[in-house]
Amino acid sequence: MDKSFFYFEVASYNSLILYFHGAKAASPKSPAHYNSNNSTAAPNKINQQAAGKVQLAYECLQASKLAGLTELVPSYSSLWLSYDALHFSQAEIQKQVSEILETSKASQQRKATKTLRIAVCYQLGEDWLSVCRQTGLTQEAIIKIHMQRIYKVYAIGFLPGFAYLGILDPRLHLKRLKTPRKHVPAGSVAIAGEQTAVYPLASPGGWHLIGKTTMKMFDPALPGLCPLEVGDSVQFFSISKKAFLHSISKKASLHSTSKKASFTI
C-alpha cells in the first residue's frame, strides 16, 4: 500500500488513529483528507476503496504480531491502534506501522470470511408506520429489498457485538431519528442511512426498527464472543411470528453460517 493512502492522527498518549484514502491523495497532508473520505467520491457514500484499505491494514497488522501493539479497532475509513508506550515512542510506532503497511500487498492471502444468515421476524418491527411513510413503499416491498442484499460487516463497535452492516439499498436510506429512543430492545433489526444492524443489547438508539431476531450478537459464552468479525457477511431472511416464538420456546436456532467467502475486497 502506497504511503499516500494513509496518515496518522494522535488519539492519546498510547493510541493513534490511522485514516485511509480511497484514492491516492494529491498531497498526503492536504486538509481534504479531514472528511475522512476520498474527496473525489461522493462525500455522503460509504467509500468502499477506503474500507478495503482499512480491512487490509487490519489484517496485515494482526498478522505482523508486532510486539507492543496492543489493540486494533477498524471502522469505515479509519483504524484505531493502541500501543505500549513503554515499548514504543509515538514516532517509532508510526514508523513501524508504516513499514508494515507499505510492504503489504492486496494480493496476500485473505483471511477466510463467513456469511451469517439471520432469521428475522419483520412483523415485530416497531417503526413500520413511519418507515413506510418515509420511504413511500409497502412493508412487503421493504422486507423484500432488505433481504435481497448480502451485507458486509464494516465495523463492530458502539456496544459489544454491534455490527455495522452495509450497504443498504438506496430506496431504504432514512435519516436517524430526531430524538433517539431511550430503550431499543435487544435483537431489534434496524436501518439508518446506508446501514443496517442488529442491536445486541437493550440500549438507547436512533435507528428505525423493522424487525426482531433471536440471533445473539454478543454472547460471553461463545469462544469468539461475537458471531461476526469485520469482513464477514450477513444476509437476512424472513420468518413468521409463529416460527419466531417457536424458536424461542424450543431454543432452536434458525440462523446458519456458511464459511465460504462471498466476496473479496
Binding site: 492519546s12 498518549y13 493502541s82 454491534f162 442511512g193 445486541p200 464472543l225
Partner: protein, 338 residues
C-alpha cells in the same frame, strides 16, 4: 470468607483494573474509574494492585463480614464506621467476623473504593472481575450489587499462599496509612483542571471557538456515569464549513463512524462535551476534539454533578510528563509498604 451486602448504596460494583483487549468487539476496558484509588486501597490491605475491590458512587454500601479481614477505604471522602465507630480513610484497619461497615454521607469526591484483604473473588470474565453492567459482564452476576448479595473473598493478597508468613505480615499490614500529601482527593472549592491533548478533529471548529473552549468554565452535567461524563455551560462550538461525509447527515458534529479512544472528548451538536470513560461506547459518529490525558482520567471519576471544570490545553510532552509524575507518586506509595 465472605462479605454480605446489607444495603447496596446507589450503584456499587466490583471493579479491578479492567479488561483490555476486547475493544474491537465493542467491549470496553471497564475497571475502577479512579484507578489510583483502587491500586492504593489494595496496597493498604496487602493485596496485589490488580485485585478486585468495590467501587461505590455518591453513597456507600453497608457490609457485613463473615470472617476477619483487613479493610481500607480510599477515593471519595465518605467517613467509614465499623459497628458505629469511626475509621479513617486511606488507612488499613482490622474487621472482625460479624462486624458491620457503613458510611456517612459524601463530603468530597464521588467514588469510594473498598479493598478487602484477599480481594473480592467473583468469577473472572474475559480475564477481569470488573463489572460492565451494560453488557451484563463480570462482577457479581454482571450487575450492580443488591441487598442480600454475598461476595466471596479470594486469594489476591501478596502473601496468601504462605500461611505462616501471612500471620507475621498481618501486623505489618494493619495500620498502613498513606500520608495526606500523597492522597488524591477532588477539591470541592476550586474548579478542577482537566488537561486535554487537542487533536483528531480539532480542525472542524473555528479558531475562535477553540479558544472559547479553553476559556470557558464548564460544569459537570447530571449525565455523568461510568460510560462518560457530560459537561455544560460553555459557549457552543462553531464549525468550519464542509461537505458532510458518509454517515449521519448534516449535523456538523457528525463524522464517518469511527473508533472512540478512551478519554476522547466528543461534542454532539457542538453544545455539550462528553468525555468517554471506562465503560466507553467503542465507536460512533460524533467528532472528537481531543483526548483528556490519562493522568486526569482518575480525577473525572471523582467529580460530582454541577462542579466547575476548566479544560486546559497541553501537548504530548506535558501529557507524558504528567503520566510519569503520577507513576512516580504511586511508586513512592509502593515503597512505603514493601
Amino acid at each position: 470468607m465472605s462479605v454480605k451486602i446489607l444495603q447496596p448504596g446507589l450503584a456499587t460494583t466490583v471493579q479491578d483494573l479492567g479488561r483490555p483487549g476486547y475493544y474491537h468487539l465493542g467491549i470496553p476496558l471497564s475497571g475502577a474509574m479512579d484507578r489510583f484509588a483502587l491500586r492504593v486501597a489494595n496496597l493498604l490491605v496487602g493485596n496485589h494492585e490488580t485485585a478486585a475491590g468495590l467501587e461505590a458512587v455518591f453513597m456507600g454500601p453497608t457490609l457485613e463480614f463473615t470472617s476477619d479481614a483487613i479493610v481500607a477505604i480510599t477515593g471519595a471522602t465518605m467517613p467509614a464506621k465499623l459497628d458505629g465507630v469511626a475509621k479513617p480513610g486511606w488507612t488499613s484497619f482490622a474487621v472482625k467476623a460479624g462486624q458491620k461497615l457503613s458510611f456517612d454521607y459524601l463530603r468530597a469526591g464521588a467514588r469510594l473504593y473498598i479493598a478487602v484483604s484477599g480481594g473480592i473473588n467473583t468469577p473472572l470474565a474475559l480475564g477481569s472481575r470488573s463489572t460492565y453492567a451494560i453488557g451484563a459482564l463480570g462482577g457479581f452476576q454482571g450487575r450492580a450489587l443488591q441487598a442480600g448479595d454475598v461476595l466471596l473473598l479470594g486469594q489476591q493478597g501478596k502473601q496468601d499462599k504462605q500461611d505462616k508468613q501471612d500471620k507475621q505480615d498481618k501486623g505489618k499490614i494493619l495500620g498502613r496509612s498513606v500520608p495526606e500529601n500523597m492522597r488524591r482527593i477532588a477539591s470541592a472549592s476550586a474548579a478542577t483542571s482537566l488537561r486535554v491533548l487537542p487533536g483528531l478533529y480539532w480542525h472542524r471548529i473555528t479558531k475562535e471557538s477553540g479558544e472559547h473552549f479553553f476559556e470557558d468554565t464548564w460544569k459537570v452535567a447530571p449525565e455523568a456515569d461510568r460510560m462518560g461524563y457530560r459537561f455544560k455551560g460553555g459557549r457552543p462550538l462553531t464549525f468550519v464549513d464542509r461537505k458532510p461525509p458518509f454517515g449521519a447527515g448534516s449535523d456538523p458534529s457528525n463524522i464517518t463512524d469511527a473508533c472512540y479512544p478512551y478519554g476522547s472528548l466528543q461534542v454532539p451538536g457542538g453544545s455539550e462535551p462528553i468525555v468517554l470513560h471506562r465503560d466507553a461506547v467503542s465507536g460512533g459518529g460524533y467528532f472528537m476534539l481531543g483526548t483528556v490525558i490519562s493522568a486526569d482520567m482518575d480525577l473525572i471519576g471523582q467529580l460530582q454533578p454541577n462542579v466547575a471544570v476548566k479544560f486546559v490545553k497541553v501537548d504530548m510532552e506535558e501529557a507524558l510528563h504528567a503520566r510519569a509524575k503520577r507513576k512516580a507518586l504511586l511508586e513512592k506509595i509502593r515503597a512505603l509498604f514493601v
